[in-house]
Symmetry: none
Subunit: 296 residues, 2 copies
């Protein structure tokens, strides 16, 4: 008998749910003849993006918006100068920036006002980080992005350092950065902006991965938070697999397996998680194993 356990916090976070909802609500504009575009894929999930496309909501691509069209800012947020440009072009701006990301924008400006040099713990090329750096610049602040401990050098000789983090940052790395900084700078202020959704999803993996035979991580191959879930899982359980859809599920993974864990990144809709679960149950049946799944 194979048991399938879906992690309690798998899938969409609050900010993504909200962005998708705002996108869906923009269908009303389409009915009024206004075209709706998203600034890049609204979530890191091609399937969900495809579903919205069918409703007429598509990422800016070959086709671009014209004056009067609506443009949706994704949950990641954008730099303020970019938002101004959109408005100057005459687009109707729908701001789906995650409120937790807005809190990071506010935090860097608050810390700047208080005279701190900013350390933004995150990935240099991540849209969220690019957006936050835009706000830092806007409010006249100075700071650096810290992606590895090496990047920290530039902050060590500062007297007063303020730390914030990308909302989807790995907690252990933030902890390492903050600990090290505390020994170097005279005054350190940390506003922990890691979104709880990310940490609870990561905690799920820490507790689930070691207790199952196979661990399945669902989410975009280009999604940083999903890749981190996968790397945590892989470090705890060799039989960890990162897939985007049920089509990648390989029957050979489940031979002789008794317990399967599933989790999914923040951009993975429930309907994909359910399809993966169904596929695994089907495989188990084919392998003449009796499958059971735990509701989350």
């Amino acid at each position: 008998m194979v048991e399938i356990i879906i992690a309690p916090n798998a899938g969409f976070c609050f900010g993504v749910k909200r962005a998708v909802k705002l996108a869906e609500e923009s269908s009303d504009l389409i009915k009024e003849g206004i075209r709706v575009f998203t600034l890049g894929p609204i979530i890191h999930n091609p399937q969900e993006v495809g579903r919205l496309k069918e409703k007429g909501i598509k990422p800016i691509g070959e086709e671009g918006p014209q004056r009067g069209d609506a443009v949706i800012i994704r949950s990641h947020g954008i730099p303020p100068e970019r938002e101004r440009e959109l408005r100057e072009h005459g687009f109707k701006v729908i701001d789906a920036t995650c409120p937790y990301v807005k809190a990071v924008h506010e935090a860097v400006c608050q810390l700047t006002k208080e005279g701190y040099f900013i350390v933004l713990v995150g990935e240099r090329n991540h849209p969220e980080v690019i957006g936050t750096l835009g706000y830092l610049k806007e409010c006249g602040g100075r700071g650096i992005v810290v992606e590895s401990m090496d990047d920290l050098k530039e902050a060590l000789n500062k007297e007063r350092v303020g730390v914030v983090s990308q909302t989807t940052q790995n907690e252990r790395f933030l902890k390492e950065v903050v600990g090290e900084l505390s020994l170097w700078v005279k005054e350190l202020k940390v506003i922990n902006t890691i979104c709880n959704a990310t940490s609870v999803r990561q905690e799920d993996v820490y507790s689930l991965a070691p207790s199952v035979d196979v661990m399945i991580i669902i989410g975009g191959k280009n999604s940083g938070n999903t890749r981190r879930l996968y790397s945590i899982s892989k470090s705890l359980n060799e039989n960890s697999y990162h897939i985007e859809t049920e089509e990648e599920v390989d029957p050979s993974w489940f031979e002789g397996v008794k317990k399967v864990g599933i989790t999914a990144g923040a951009s993975t809709p429930d309907w994909i998680i359910n399809r993966v679960k169904d596929k695994i149950e089907e495989i188990c049946a084919g392998l003449s194993q009796s499958c059971s799944s735990s509701a989350r």
Copy 2:
């Protein structure tokens, strides 16, 4: 000609030197007929305490001060209510509290004013910590002493935590505490109040040892901080020697030598350093080398 260079930060730290100096200056009061007492041994060195006793400056013990006598507060500091009591008893108070310890008193009150719950990283029964807690109480603050990670629990559910540390706190433990806190509390402010006396003594050795022919490290053979100075020195200069007193100085170390470096651990009074210097000069004279010593 042999040059003897004493490291700038050899021996007692700034705060202890200052306390001993203030004690010595109080001899003037003794001449005026005022008795002088210290609140506990002014330093952890029986020889040095004995030397001051001969000048009439003794720790409060069998004999206590009377109204009009002088009382010296040691470098560790004391709670403000205790200081008030001393004044109310009519004692002349000489405050030899280390300025770096005063900075901790100020830090807990500043953080309290800013609304933080205080985490004081240090030893619960250390006189410095007892003094700092007195200041925390005085300015209406709330907080805890963290001696082990277990103690931290009470702070983890707080929204805003301000961290300071005992001046002689181990850096690695502070780092661990701060790292952990950063993941739990919404806003963390750290004022690093660890005194850099230990690290500057080590820096001295890094710069002095490679530039001399012989390096002498003075301090207890059982003193961790002295042994660390010795091991740093030995790694940079093969001719490094760890001694406790001038009696261990071996003339054979100085044959053909042009430059001698001396440093000492935190528990070594100046007069022991000077005796070692004198002994080396004596040896140089015996070796018909002309000796000179650099003042530090």
